[in-house]
């Protein structure tokens, strides 16, 4: 019988990290503040898979990526990347990974895109002839010919993101870390980048991805880990995760409402029997604040009448209310009590 062997290229074992920051409380006085970023994180990523890390802001995603790419030392635990220990063999780890961190500050704005790639390629000691060829291949692969020879200071945010992505590919590493790779891209470019990520996987690369976009995680990731308050709260394939909330349903409600009233309404909905989790976010429009409420419940038929009553009694305008099949976003809400996007 033929068996498929999974070879783990990233292993994290009980990683812990505490930040000690100093908060100014006067001109020369500082107060120490401890922030627990990781509370014992363990997982592994198999060779050739796209592994997604989902979590709200401050959940510990960036801390985890920084530890795995050697930018940060863990306080406890162990991490192995491509067979190398991140603390004991950092240089070998750095040779094994390509990294795209979030933000526009990763590039030299007074250099052209090509000069940036040449510079970082040289730091990886890529031989000149190979580097030149590789840059041309990456430029063609990402379709960035139009701006690669312009100074980065003239780039749009999206173009900078694409160049940062190109930079992550410059050392042709087997493992690529992508921190929110489509965050500043227009929808067309975002779709293109997702296709490129799939192609990289087809080439045998292992991708470690963080994203706020659930559809992106569902579309791209072979497995997903949900991190919240420094702990991995769920891990598995998107389908496996959805199965963990099998038997539960989601209800999506869009209302026009003011902020204080929303708090009252959601508190009341939370008290309805059969409601497990509730979360909401607000977007402003010309008509006022549109509140999107997402509810995880046992049976929508049972909770809809009391929910409608609460909404109508509070005089809110209902735009939309619909029971839905649970998505990855609902898994996230179920485990963290928060909406991701």
């Amino acid at each position: 019988m033929k068996t498929t062997e999974h070879h783990a290229v990233i292993i994290a074992e009980n990683l812990k990290k505490i930040y000690e920051t100093k908060v100014p409380i006067g001109l020369f006085r500082r107060k120490k503040k401890r922030v627990i970023a990781l509370k014992g994180v363990s997982f592994s990523v198999n060779e050739g898979e796209i592994f997604g890390l989902l979590g709200p802001n401050g959940a510990g995603k960036t801390t985890l990526i920084k530890i795995l790419t050697t930018l940060l030392l863990p306080d406890a635990g162990r991490a192995i990347v491509n067979g190398f220990d991140v603390v004991k063999q950092p240089e070998e780890v750095r040779k094994s990974v390509g990294v795209m961190l979030m933000g526009e500050r990763a590039l030299y704005w007074k250099l052209t895109g090509r000069e940036n790639l040449e510079f970082f390629g040289s730091l990886y000691k890529v031989p000149k002839d190979i580097l030149k060829k590789r840059i041309n291949e990456i430029v063609e692969f990402l379709g960035i010919q139009e701006f690669i020879d312009r100074l980065v200071e003239t780039y749009s945010s999206g173009q900078k993101v694409l160049l940062a992505f190109a930079k992550a590919l410059i050392n042709d590493a087997p493992i690529i870390f992508l921190d929110e790779p489509t965050v500043a891209l227009d929808p067309r470019r975002a779709i293109e980048v997702r296709q490129k990520i799939k192609k990289l996987k087809e080439e045998g690369k292992t991708i470690f991805l963080t994203t706020h976009i659930m559809q992106e995680a569902e579309e791209l990731c072979d497995r997903v880990a949900i991190i919240d308050e420094g702990r991995i709260v769920a891990i598995g394939t998107p389908d496996e995760l959805k199965r963990t909330i099998k038997g539960k349903s989601a209800v999506e409600v869009d209302i026009v409402c003011s902020n204080p009233k929303t708090i009252t309404i959601t508190e009341k909905i939370q008290q309805i029997d059969g409601v497990h989790k509730i979360a909401w976010d607000v977007t402003s429009s010309e008509k006022g604040e549109i509140v999107r409420i997402r509810v995880i419940c046992d049976n929508p038929r049972e909770i809809l009448p009391p929910m409608m009553e609460i909404l109508l009694n509070n005089g809110v305008k209902i735009h939309y209310i619909k029971p839905e099949e649970p998505t990855l976003e609902d898994v996230f809400l179920y485990y963290t009590g928060k909406l991701l996007a």
Binding site: A106, Y108, W109, K110, E115, F119, L123, Y124, K125, N171
Partner: protein, 278 residues
């Protein structure tokens, strides 16, 4: 394994390209040595009344009447040395502020490659400034014969020898800048302190004994004093042999100390997650 200098050259080329995209910097770097060269002349005339009188007074304690070229040598060597000493730390801090330090530290580049790349760039710019200011002074004040002498070449060798311990000093200051994250306050204080202690404008013999003892620990002092001693046939700090031994000892001591300090601070930054904090 074959040594690959590519990261060192890449840092040099990258910095030179960034420099070339600020024409104002280039113009300032050409004009500044001319302005600084004229200041001692104006000081001398202002204080002593005439150039002749200034030369006489200066000759009494320094051993040479050629005070303009004496000061020019001091300030040129000092400018060159401090450029090397400070540039690494200031560059690291600049990279920290712009966010690119994090990107550099994600690559397998080694500390010494970062340092050598930075020093190659600074040496290149500082060498141009050095020869520019020396040549301007020599032409303006009729001292060109000093520049064209074999002693001047020997003096340059002493300055070049002084670069090795300066690399260690550069690492040391680089580490301090990254740790304290207040490069300008630190830079301004230590620049003024080093002008005072290294004998840029005067021989260190006029300093109090404790200051002289501190001065000789800094390789810049020896480079300045010995360059002058060779050109003007004056006394060395101790004697040529001891001064040379001191420079060689510092060439081992300061890089070791600097490397130790830098690695410690880098580890601390990685521990605290402060590679992006400035």
């Amino acid at each position: 394994m074959k040594w690959n200098p590519e990261p060192i050259l890449a840092i040099f080329k990258m910095r030179l390209k960034v420099y070339s995209r600020y024409p104002g910097w280039i113009i300032l770097d050409i004009i500044a040595p001319i302005i600084f060269s004229v200041i001692p002349f104006l000081f001398a005339v202002g204080i002593a009344g005439s150039l002749e009188r200034a030369a006489e007074i200066f000759g009494n304690y320094a051993g040479t009447r050629e005070f303009l070229f004496y000061i020019a040598i001091g300030s040129a060597v000092w400018g060159f040395s401090t450029g090397i000493t400070w540039d690494f730390g200031m560059w690291l801090y600049e990279e920290l502020e712009t966010g690119t330090l994090e990107q550099i530290l994600l690559t397998p580049v080694k500390v010494y490659e970062l340092l050598l790349g930075a020093i190659l760039y600074t040496s290149f710019i500082s060498t141009i400034n050095f020869f520019l200011s020396i040549t301007i002074i020599a032409i303006l004040f009729n001292c060109l014969h000093y520049v064209l002498s074999i002693d001047f070449v020997l003096a340059l060798l002493v300055v070049v020898l002084g670069i090795i311990p300066l690399m260690g000093l550069a690492l040391f200051f680089g580490a301090l800048v990254l740790k304290l994250k207040e490069p300008w306050a630190f830079f301004n204080f230590l620049t003024a302190f080093m002008v005072f202690i290294c004998g840029v404008f005067y021989p260190i013999t006029i300093l109090p004994p404790i200051a002289r003892a501190i001065a000789v620990v800094i390789p810049i002092t020896i480079a300045i004093a010995d360059a002058r001693a060779i050109i003007f046939h004056l006394n060395f700090i101790f004697n040529p042999k001891i001064d040379l031994i001191l420079l060689i000892v510092y060439a081992f001591l300061w890089p070791l100390l600097g490397m130790h300090m830098y690695k410690r601070v880098e580890k601390e930054l990685r521990q605290r997650g402060e590679i992006t904090v400035f």
